[in-house]
């Protein structure tokens, strides 16, 4: 299982899903009404490292985080 967590204002409980890459996650989340509107503006981290493309394989135990637009300070 891959854990998917939604940070900051997305305000959604983490999901555990059977997926093997980020492409599959994108397809899955597009069907989710709470999350789909955030996909355009969210950055993605795999195991706490930001990734620049969807071509990332995922294995059992990996964690994916969605990071919406930020504003510290």
């Amino acid at each position: 299982m891959v854990k998917v967590e939604f940070l900051g204002p997305i305000n959604k409980e983490a999901l555990n899903v059977e997926i093997s890459n980020l492409n599959e996650l994108g397809a899955l989340l597009k069907e989710d009404q709470d999350v789909s509107k955030w996909l355009e503006t969210c950055a993605v981290a795999v195991n706490d490292t930001l990734v620049a493309s969807k071509d990332v394989a995922l294995s059992d135990g990996d964690k994916v985080s969605l990071l919406p637009p930020v504003c510290g300070g």
């Binding site: 900051g8 503006t41 969210c42 950055a43 930001l50 930020v70 504003c71 300070g73």
Partner: protein
Amino acid sequence: MEKLQLFEGSLPVEQITNSWYEEFKSSNYGAIITFVGVVRDENSIDGLSFDIYEPILNSWFDSWQKKANEKNAIVLMAHSRGDVLNHESSYIAAVCSPKRRVALEMIDEFVEDFKAQAPIWKYDIIDGKRVYAEDRSTKIQGSGILN
């Protein structure tokens, strides 16, 4: 001393900046520049509130520390979690450097990159509710890949 410090609620500014000065005044840094961010009273807010994602904040901060160290400088930072009322401080950044120009330029880049990349989310506090400050927020570099 931890160079990145997180606090619940508003920052004890004097305590933090004094401790930084005491810690580093004898380290031969000719320039210590401190930036203190203060919450403004505007748009009828009572204050701001913050969420932080620490693992990625730590790696972002570590990469800045490496960059500063290459110029014989260091960076320091303190930030609030949770609610910070108007006229209190939620963010302090500092650069200590042997050279004045390095410190002046780095504090600018450090604060601006913080605003654009650090995984911190801001909410206005209006009538006791948290409202995401969407219009002031910036997409992290590389956003939108799942779209």
